[in-house]
Amino acid sequence: MTALRNILIRLSTTAVTLFGVAVIVFVVIRVVPGNPIAMMLPPGATDDDIARLEALYGFDKSIFQQFLIWGAGVLQGDFGTSISLRQPVADLVLGRLPATLELSIVALVMAMLLGGALALMGTLYRDTTTEAAVDVTAGMALSIPDFLWGLVLILLFGVLWPIFSISGRVSPSLDFDFATNFYLFEALLRLRFDVVGHLLSHSFMPALALAIPLAAIIAQLLKQSLKETMHLDYVTLARTKGYSEQHVITREALPNAVLPTLTLIGVQFTFLIGGTVIIERLFSYEGLGNMAIDAVINRDLPLIQGIVILFALLFTVINLLVDMLYVVLNPRLRHA
């Protein structure tokens, strides 16, 4: 009963958040310099032409009126029409969302595997040079931002040793008909592991660039909480029962030590999705972020609004999921 009430409260705050985001974006992109109409017309267009086009897109009305018209559309699922691409914004944005989601999830999985492995290694060999090496590695990984890692990776695995594809989501040569835009999940479900391999060779580098800084944060925090947990009585008791150090770390300490890291991953995952904007551009990956940059360059106001609202919705949904996961994993919260 209280769980249902909590979810309802969360949903209503989400609605308020989204409304606020919509207002801010709507106003800001109309206040900053740059006119979408001017971008569309050839130089030397008459004032008459400009006025007619402005009227066509509704830019002649006040911001408040424009917002009401747009808002009424949104409530009916109509996010307007992209100025530069001349297609419904909802179709465009939802068409690109799977690409960005897949990239982010691959990056998240990489970050958890890398960060988790580093943390476990640092804990198993704590107070030795191996732990110091883990600390240095994590520190270095963290002090370089994701887009620079992207450049480093392109130089390493795109130029020096061209192992992975450096651009796009798929090669044009790929002979496979996707029924959805979730290429990777679809290929996995249809058990076409050759296609999965192809997709991963494309998403490997952008995903790794996004994953490295997050992996470093996970490694640092998880190792810290693991080391603290290793001193606790129940861990000591498990040792006296004859369990190996590996077992004690992974089975006794990890399930408790992982909780603060999970909260952090939830927060950091939204930053990671924010990072996709630049990384997708860098790797010419056909996702939402790449589309967002084009939309800004073209002053495609309806498209910018659609993308920002979708990102905001995505972030709140992720936070909600993390909270729910936390309750599942921590038995002490279940009765609260």
Binding site: Y234, A238, R239, G242, Y243, P255, N256, L329, P331
Partner: protein, 290 residues
């Protein structure tokens, strides 16, 4: 050799630091209860930790032997020692609130080691856990086994830890101040429970405590520890009738009496402390550890 556990000349020190245990020797006979008494910092718990292989990494064993059931432990590989300890000894920890894993149900916390380490079947382990929980007078056993630690009281948790310690029928149990973290009314029950369980199972028990009152109720023999050195080793009756070492005498005199709370609370006199310190120093010089 009648002693089930025999510690000989065990010396433990902080790496590049002070000596924690000074050539400690003690014996626990099969089925007997041996008390290990001393004030905070005397190194009582360190003996248990060395024995169980849970010594903090900053400490090292510089000399000595630990014989458990005719096998010397310190000369074995860490993995062998760990398995041998896991199979033959068990620990009743000090604080029941922190000694159970908060993210695991009670049942598996008792049964997993029987299955993982000792190779029992899951059904046997489950039956054994129920039997032991019944023995320590846990009500509603099925419900408790499905519970998480935070759903149970401190006294319940200590009973569960006792049941868990006896589950594999170990020959030796180390009880590290098992009643210190409990409130006084529960202390008595738990103490009686440990004594009854020890009797019934014929387990040798190394009972670590600072409480001479507790020792008098449960132990057959005892060692008095000061600054990591055994200053007196005695059978119970003789110790309480005629303590030999001045420090032991002072400790006995310092035990508060319920009937005379004001007059009985006597601190250990300074000259006794000085004398013991002198003795410890003398030992260190002779052993070349200072």
């Amino acid at each position: 050799m009648s002693a089930y556990l025999s510690i000989r000349n065990l010396t433990v020190r902080l790496k590049n630091g002070p000596v924690i245990l000074r050539s400690v020797s003690l014996e626990v006979a099969a089925g007997q209860v041996h008390g290990l008494v001393g004030e905070s910092g005397a190194g009582k718990s360190m003996i248990g930790k060395t024995l169980l292989g849970t010594l903090p990494r900053a400490m090292e064993i510089t000399a000595g032997e630990i014989w458990l059931d005719g096998t010397e432990l310190l000369s074995q590989s860490p993995a062998d020692r760990r398995r041998r300890i896991g199979a033959t000894a068990a620990l009743i920890p000090q604080d029941p609130l922190t000694a159970l894993n908060p993210s695991k149900r009670i049942g598996p916390q008792i049964t997993r080691r029987l299955v993982d380490i000792l190779g029992w079947t899951a059904a046997d382990a489950d039956a054994r856990a129920r039997e032991l929980l019944d023995e320590v007078q846990i009500p509603q056993i099925s419900r408790v086994m499905r519970s998480y630690p935070h759903e149970l009281s401190g006294g319940m948790r200590q009973r569960i830890l006792i049941a868990s310690a006896f589950a594999a029928e170990p020959k030796l149990i180390i009880a590290d101040e098992p009643t210190t973290a409990l409130d006084v009314t529960v202390q008595k029950q738990i103490l009686r429970l440990i004594r009854n369980m020890q009797h019934r199972h014929g387990t040798a028990l190394l009972f670590v405590t600072h409480d001479l009152g507790v020792v008098s109720k449960i132990c057959d023999t005892l060692s008095v520890l000061y600054a990591g050195k055994v200053v007196e080793e005695a059978r119970m009756q003789r110790f309480f009738m005629r303590p030999i070492h001045p420090y032991s005498q002072a400790l006995l005199a310092a035990t508060p009496s319920y009937l005379d709370p004001e007059g009985s609370l006597m601190p250990v006199p300074a000259n006794v402390i000085d004398a013991v310190e002198e003795e410890v120093r003398f030992h260190d010089i002779r052993a070349g550890t200072r």
